[in-house]
């Protein structure tokens, strides 16, 4: 297709992406370099009939509002926001490392810092949910492949539900069940014989619930893709493996799994991107006391009751995107190599 025709066809789509994805990125960079104005303080003399007169410091609301209107971005702060306590916290970490009681102690204290708390949960969530969700999907696909054909339609219908459902709705549905007054929460109390047991009150149990929830919504996607892949497994390879004496497990290990590897990389990529942005479950499970994610930190800054923290949200956003690019880098390199190899021929 000639350049000119290409340009006209891609124009609307490219325009939308430049205006609402690329420009906002610029806007985030700018915002992260500024910080909100402090409140304007004035000295006021207040006198009471018996106490005499004292100088008091008050917030000058009108002047504060005027300043914020004049310079909505705030004042220039350079890279200050990136290194402050709510983000990379370089000074705090230096202090922690200086007077530490061993590695466990310093790790525990670093975990108290909001950015690292969010980072740790996000990474753990991605690292646990991505492989386990794929594994669950793979087992379901193998099992569905074996059951009588009449059952397959309804099974696929029900299996799609956790994936298709709005994440916030899915997490609320599960949260209401595992809540200490819900049916699963009750069951858990009965099993452990501990009537005060509550998932929300326990940090590790909250993490576990969020992970299980993540697997629950991630498994169907892997299942559908792997199930489709299973239909294309070459039958003659399977037969010759059987003639060579491979048992059931060996056939799965040496014929089926290698056949599914290209699909698995695709699924892993998509799941990695989706799990990394985990936000709704934390809101749905009301779990921010024991688990916050990077997305949740940004959401929280933008939701703040007294004034939205644009600078803080923007700095976290950029750190998140930087981390994401590092995570995606192997994929990008591989795609580039594939492309160069193809165009070399």
């Amino acid at each position: 297709m000639p350049h000119k025709a290409f340009a006209w066809f891609i124009l609307p789509s490219a325009l939308a992406m430049i205006l609402f994805i690329a420009l906002p990125l610029v806007s985030i960079v700018v915002q992260s370099l500024y910080i909100e104005h402090p409140q304007v303080l004035t000295q006021v003399e207040s006198c009471s009939p018996f106490g005499g007169c004292t100088m008091e410091t008050r917030v000058d609301a009108a002047a504060t509002a005027a300043l914020r209107d004049a310079q909505p971005l705030g004042r220039f702060n350079g890279l200050g926001t990136y290194f402050n306590r709510s983000h990379l916290a370089t000074r705090e970490i230096a202090t922690i490392l200086k007077d530490t009681d061993g590695i466990a102690d310093s790790l525990r204290r670093i975990y108290q810092l909001p950015f690292y708390r969010a980072l740790l949960f996000t990474l753990c969530y991605t690292a646990v949910v991505t492989p386990l969700g794929m594994l669950a999907g793979f087992w379901i696909a193998l099992a569905v492949n074996r059951i009588p054909a009449v059952l397959k339609g309804p099974v696929i219908f029900v299996s799609l539900l956790p994936m298709i459902i709005t994440p916030l709705i899915g997490s609320l549905v599960i949260y209401w069940m595992v809540n200490s007054r819900g049916i699963l929460g009750n069951l858990l109390q009965w099993v452990t014989q501990d009537p005060t047991l509550s998932i929300a009150a326990s940090g590790p149990l909250t993490w576990l619930t969020l992970f299980l929830y993540g697997i629950w919504i991630a498994a169907p996607f892997s299942f559908v893709v792997f199930y489709a892949g299973l239909q294309t497994v070459p039958q003659d390879t399977l037969e010759s493996a059987m003639i060579d004496g491979a048992n059931r497990w060996e056939r799965v290990r040496f014929v089926i799994i290698p056949h599914l590897v290209p699909l698995a990389t695709f699924v892993a990529l998509v799941q990695l991107m989706d799990n990394f942005r985990v936000l709704e479950p934390i809101i749905g499970f009301n779990a921010q006391a024991s688990a916050t994610s990077l997305s949740f930190s940004i959401y929280n800054d933008l939701q703040a009751e007294n004034g939205q923290l644009f600078a803080s949200a923007a700095a976290t956003s950029l750190l998140t995107i930087a981390l994401l690019i590092v995570l995606l880098f192997p994929v990008l390199i591989r795609t580039w190599r594939d492309f160069s190899r193809k165009s070399a021929h």
């Binding site: 609402f20 049916i183 009750n186 990077l294």
Partner: protein
Amino acid sequence: MTSSPARPNYTLTLIATAFVLFWMVVAGFPFLWTTWGSFKVEADFFSRADWSNALSGVNTIRQTGDAFTMDGYKGAWILNDFWRAGLNTMLVTVVVTVLSLVLGTLGGYALARSGYRYAFWILILALVFRAMPHITLVSGYLVPFFQLNIWGTLPTAIIVLVAINQPFTLWMLHSFFLSIPKDLDESAMVDGCTRFQAFREVIVPVMWPGIITTGLFSFLLAYNDFAVTAMLLRQENQTMIPKIASFLGSIESEGNVMFAVSSVVSATVPLFILVMFFQRQIVGGLTAGAVKG
């Protein structure tokens, strides 16, 4: 005669069937339970005393005289204006789907038919955009939108959702267009069509299955969005999902959690219907991306 290379092994089939049944309970039961519970009062669905109250509806009978009550639905839809959120959702999802498809088919067609290197780079850039959490972009919208005074309105949210959906839509439609032979549009152009006429009259008609599948996913992205609609819409323009989130803050404290339960059930109904009618297209779309992607 059997086409399967494996000898029938009934134990394994039995284990597989049991496992699948277990998975079906895990996947489906939460929705069944919540739907059932939405017709009860709070004291039954969130029972401190005995979970079986939710089945028998002891308190529901005592409070309302019947084992099933519509109180939760009345409270949400009528008293708390959930109907308005429903209308907003309908408007947003329909417009976002149509616009995404119009922009996406044009762009996807160009990307599939261009052999130049820049087409590849646009696709890679789209992949990076697709990976970015939506909330990171939202933090970039707020200040400019406040300045331009376009924050809070439905058209703003619609355009943002269309743009955010573009990377995914482009990838999917691009791979569908690749499966249509080039000869088709080239012969149309030999017969005297312009490029755009060939696209409109020849390619789009054979692309309908791909367009419908992509449209389903655009619909889901718009319908399921939380980050954009929660942050960019003012209260009276809220769609269903942010409305439910705002129920959690205000209603749970007043003891009217059943409003949230019934609105959650209401918001799942369209998705249920969608899966019921378009199961094959959804499965096809998921696998198309994987096999070709």
